[in-house]
């Protein structure tokens, strides 16, 4: 009978969830849209193209593009009728620089509106000129430089966008789900009705945990399926499967935060407001929206008190940075610690009804 209660409560909660359009939108559709959006705008952002306008013939430029396919892939070159037209295009930001050649003299005109681009234009063209000079001297170069980034070549933005947004989706889904269900069940007296049925409180809580875990795993599956499409190109590293226990522990932590919110809040509106106050700052400061590597120092310091930080960074480690399974263990411990603290607080503040 106890098992029957658990199964039918789980079923009732699951049907309630998948029929709830708002919940589906906020826990799955919106995060996926964010993933598609961020995944698209950050795509290829690691190798920005420089668009040059060639005024007249710049033989050096065409030689360099023929000789080095690397240069050719970075430079997009088009022609312009006159210098005035070219400068106008640069000033408007349509192109990054105008190039012309007067004998052995290469002239570059660029805008400093985009300083990164300006620096890039200067260094690329300087290196082309230098290489040409060196070649003209007829000697083999004495020094060569080879540079490569420390990350795996595959650490494209999608590799950190995916764990970040997934962490946010899991956190808001679990927190809002638990908080709003608890408040609305208390308000409609369903909670009290269940207390009058011959089932234990344990069955109700277990069913709720089971549903939250199921929803979290669905979110994980949807995220991985979309991010791994060739268009986004997420490449999972060896220990990615550790994301599954990570997701489970993250769900437990955020669910207990949600139950705490639900125990405090008297109305659904209040529950939504409190949950937003917790989740939104956490998403910004905890590394979900802004990768912590790019964040200012105070954000990084503040992130240490946010459970979301541990979930997101640990998922990045095992999913994208190629670290071993044990890299996730500290985060799992910390998330379970949060679960314990928030869960105990929620139990203390729990009320069966409003009086």
């Amino acid at each position: 009978m106890r098992g029957g209660g658990f199964a039918s409560l789980s079923r009732a909660m699951f049907l309630g969830f998948i029929r709830d359009r708002t919940a589906l939108i906020f826990s799955i559709l919106l995060p996926v849209l964010f993933l598609v959006f961020f995944g698209s705008i950050y795509k290829n952002s690691s190798a920005p193209e420089i668009s040059l306008i060639e005024v007249g013939q710049v033989r050096l430029l065409s030689q360099a593009r023929r000789a080095d396919p690397g240069v050719a892939s970075v430079l997009a070159v088009r022609d312009a009728r006159s210098l005035a037209v070219a400068l106008d295009a640069v000033r408007k930001g349509n192109d990054d620089a105008a190039v012309l050649q007067r004998g052995g003299h290469i002239i570059v005109r660029y805008s400093i509106a985009d300083q990164t681009k300006a620096g890039l234009v200067n260094s690329v063209l300087a290196s082309i000129v230098q290489a040409a000079n060196q070649a003209a001297s007829g000697q083999r170069p004495r020094f060569t430089l080879s540079a490569s980034q420390v990350e795996d070549k595959s650490l494209k933005p999608i590799q950190y966008v995916t764990p970040g947004l997934l962490g946010w989706a899991l956190a808001s889904g679990a927190t809002f789900g638990a908080a709003i269900t608890l408040v609305s069940w208390r308000q409609t007296k369903l909670l009290r009705r269940l207390r009058l049925a011959p089932i234990g409180t344990g069955s109700i809580v277990a069913a709720r945990i089971g549903i939250a875990l199921a929803i979290g795993l669905i979110q994980l599956a949807v995220f991985l399926a979309i991010a791994r499409l060739p268009y986004f190109g997420l490449k999972l590293t060896a220990a990615w499967w550790m994301t599954i226990p990570l997701v489970a522990c993250g769900i437990l932590a955020f669910m207990s935060i949600g139950l705490l919110v639900g125990a405090i809040a008297k109305t659904q509106q209040a529950a939504t407001a409190i949950a937003n106050l917790i989740i939104l700052p956490m998403a910004f400061v905890g590394g979900a929206f802004i990768p912590l590597d790019f964040a200012p120092d105070w954000v990084r310091q503040a992130s240490y008190v946010m459970p979301l930080r541990y979930l997101v960074t640990a998922m990045q480690d095992v999913m994208a940075r190629g670290e071993g399974p044990s890299a996730a263990l500290p985060a799992i411990g910390i998330l379970l610690g949060f679960t314990l603290v928030a869960g105990l607080a929620a139990m203390r503040l729990f009320r069966w009804d409003d009086i």
């Binding site: 209660g5 409560l9 007296k189 009058l196 049925a197």
Partner: protein, 301 residues
């Protein structure tokens, strides 16, 4: 046979409010028992203590021979509680709701579907609970309380916000429930409902039971004059007063001539003798009069 519910000197206070202040009563097997009272009289708290949801400060409640507090797992399958029309799982259909409740009690889905038929909801089985009409939602919530065939049923304001048709309709259902031998406890502040359904009522106010007994007995105890009215113009006021005898008060508002008397016999005979019975109405006191005489008439929000 021992009483199904036995309540002795229950007391319960919240902060500075005494919700229940020394309540005692018994409910017998198969009885339809009503607890009446204005809002805040202590009805709900009394019921909650009997259901085992709250611990009384003092006194005790016994249900089916077992102590109501602490929550007793052996008692729960034997009682059915209907709380409110909105105590449902979100976004489940009527059939899914009752099947979920049924399985909490280990009752097969087939019985749940039959119960849906009993309350006349077979045609609406696929409708989500939020989309049901007020009357249908009440029926569903009663069905959910009865699905495990409890011996004792608690109904809390079952006809709260229903229109007259839906109320009468639900009364028929409630009579059926009680005629199958179950004991039913109802709280309401609709006096006509209690008078029509209950074998016995207890009138509560300020946490105390003011009076208890069968509705008809309570009305008789009140000893109020009967109001006999006929169409105006059939008989003069003076003649009516003369025929009705001493102690009768006669009024005529141009629409009806009304005689208020404690001795209806001579008045009726007198009107009949004058052939002045057209549009005859005889109104005795009602449970509402009993209620108002006990709880007072001042307005309470």
């Amino acid at each position: 046979m021992p009483p199904v519910i036995s309540v002795r000197d229950l007391r319960k206070s919240y902060a500075d409010v005494t919700a229940v202040d020394g309540v005692s009563f018994d409910v017998d097997q198969g009885e339809f028992f009503g607890i009446l009272g204005p809002n805040g009289a202590g009805k709900t708290t009394t019921l909650e203590i009997i259901e085992g949801l709250r611990e009384p400060d003092s006194g005790h409640a016994t249900v089916l021979g077992l102590a109501a507090w602490p929550r007793n797992g052996a008692l729960l399958p034997r009682i059915g509680v209907q709380l409110q029309a909105s105590s449902f799982f979100e976004r489940l259909t009527a059939r899914e709701q009752i099947r979920t409740f049924a399985s909490l009690y280990g009752v097969p889905a087939k019985n749940a579907d039959e119960m849906l038929g009993t309350v006349g909801l077979t045609d609406s089985a696929g409708v989500r609970a939020e989309k049901l009409s007020g009357g249908q939602a009440q029926r569903l919530s009663i069905a959910c309380a009865l699905v495990h065939d409890p011996e004792l049923v608690f109904l809390d304001e079952p006809t709260g916000a229903l229109d007259p048709q839906a109320r009468r309709n639900l009364w028929d259902l409630l009579r059926e429930i009680s005629s199958s031998g179950r004991t039913v406890v109802l709280t309401t502040h609709h006096m006509d409902e209690a008078e029509s359904l209950c074998d016995r009522v207890a009138i509560m106010d300020h946490g105390k039971i003011l009076r208890a007994g069968p509705p008809a007995a309570l009305v008789r105890e009140l000893d109020q004059p009967v109001r006999i009215s006929v169409q105006s113009g059939l008989i003069t006021r003076d003649e009516a007063a003369a025929r009705a005898g001493p102690g009768a008060a006669v009024t005529d508002d141009g629409v009806s001539l009304t005689i208020a008397t404690r001795d209806a016999g001579p008045a009726l005979a007198g009107l009949a003798g004058a052939d002045a019975l057209a549009g005859l109405r005889v109104q005795g006191a009602t449970l509402e009069d009993v209620f108002l005489s006990l709880t007072g008439r001042e307005y309470r929000a």
